[in-house]
Symmetry: C2
Subunit: 334 residues, 2 copies
Amino acid sequence: MSKIRSIVSAIALASSVSVASAWEALPTTAPAPANNPTTAEKVELGRILYHDPRLSSTGTVSCASCHNTMLGGEDNRPNSMGVNGQTGGRSAPTVWNSAFNEVQFWDGRAASLEDQAAGPVTNPIEMGMKNWDDVVARLKSIDGYQPYFEKAFGKNSISKDNATKAIAAYERTLITPNSAYDKFAKGDKKALSEQQIRGFNKVVELGCTGCHSGPAFNGPGTFQKFPVTSNPYLEKKYQFSKDKGLFEVTGKSGDEHLFKVPTLRNIALTAPYFHNGSVKTLESAVKIMAKLQLGATLNDAEAADIVAFLNGLTGEFPKQEMPVLPGTPGTSFY
Amino acid sequence: MSKIRSIVSAIALASSVSVASAWEALPTTAPAPANNPTTAEKVELGRILYHDPRLSSTGTVSCASCHNTMLGGEDNRPNSMGVNGQTGGRSAPTVWNSAFNEVQFWDGRAASLEDQAAGPVTNPIEMGMKNWDDVVARLKSIDGYQPYFEKAFGKNSISKDNATKAIAAYERTLITPNSAYDKFAKGDKKALSEQQIRGFNKVVELGCTGCHSGPAFNGPGTFQKFPVTSNPYLEKKYQFSKDKGLFEVTGKSGDEHLFKVPTLRNIALTAPYFHNGSVKTLESAVKIMAKLQLGATLNDAEAADIVAFLNGLTGEFPKQEMPVLPGTPGTSFY
């Protein structure tokens, strides 16, 4: 949690940071931690593991079930459905460009993609495996996994640590470049429409970029309070405050309602919105954010301009080959 | 059902058919019906629809969830898990090489892949959509689908008929050539080991090929009775007779316990076995089939030889690109 604490302490600075990061194109590669440099072999293994439902107790839920790379990187549901039809209280964040998040999960409780990858697998509501020893035993029992691990990490290397490293390495390749916004940022001044530019200017004028700036529109300042202001009508309708965010993890006074600032990249594809997925449309989400975070009431035209701009943040999804999951000759786990 | 009836009547012939079809390699293309010739545009649309969980009420189940092309073409579960964690009584058959089945589903109730594709979508346990009107309405509301349908079927062509035709066209491309068996059949006499050849000879000697022959090992005779003989011990353990197969659909005397003969292609990857998925290993499945269908008791060595041969039926899975599912800008269905 030390990384999280230092990031939280940076929040105080956020409001004084100017919008220096406007018009920044998305990098085409993501930084990797020193202990897990990205290699083609890890990415290949990670892509397989990410799509393997055998990492769940029932064999029905893979990482891709809730963070579906074919579908904007999540599941378009208010809350995700894990093993045996169970649902939790939060909406799955997109995996696309998650490499540019400083922390992971809505409450930021994981300091890295590696840490994040380990969580859902043994969450009883999500993938439902009893513990990672069982996951590793299952992976070891699938003959076809061994050569992939060996290529990526060396002999006899099937372990929780390496499985999550491989998944994280794969996730670092999930970047969506060349949105209309990126083209504009790189100099193609026709890439955004007049309405989209008007929308962007409104975003800056309102102060949305106080929290949503930088190339992934998820900083500066990793955590922010949501909602900032109270609004009984909206609270009754959407129950935003029921979930206390980082406080649910730390229990520390001052952490109430702190959430990771989500990226705005591909946001047009990731309805419904907010940590609890309670808002169905992007127009409503924009109006609610303006109201609760910035005290501004947007009219329909202003909201439409901003939505038009946000549509300009939909990037290109790189082609991916569908993995052939290693076989389990003649055996079943379930 | 007329096609089914005529096929059933062919069963009587099955026992007198000689094993003329031994050593037949799998065709590399599948026949298509006259009213749905395969085109690249249909296959592309079908691949997208097949992987789209928005064809289910909860947005969590696609065709690929239970017939996972990455995982031997099914889910490796005894029974599949549909929306809200519900399970049915049968084990999902593999989609790979299903184009070579004369009828579809374990009870053969669908006479074509097109008919089959329509079923699970509105089955309350499987994909849970209320009716196809709702499915079509949903597809129409996803802007990105329109151009794919237009390319495949012309303007304003989003319909149940065309959606299922596209899915069937895609499924006809799911063929796994170049197994060790196919290489052997084509003349590479080193492609199968001595044990595998011994296993094949045993398969012929026992009479397994009375039902499992032809290039997909699923004929001649589309339906067969299972179990042929009664065995109280096995029945108690596996409850094979609880499900009456074709009779459950037709209610006709004589149809009791008739099932579609499943392909043996890739069978090493599709555990657990039988219509109810009650048998976990291929070795057990082989011994049980010999006992119940042919009255033969196999020793471990004989079963191992046959399993070795069956492993030689695992083909090559052609590379597939992962579809990018058409976006639903700013809206959610759930």
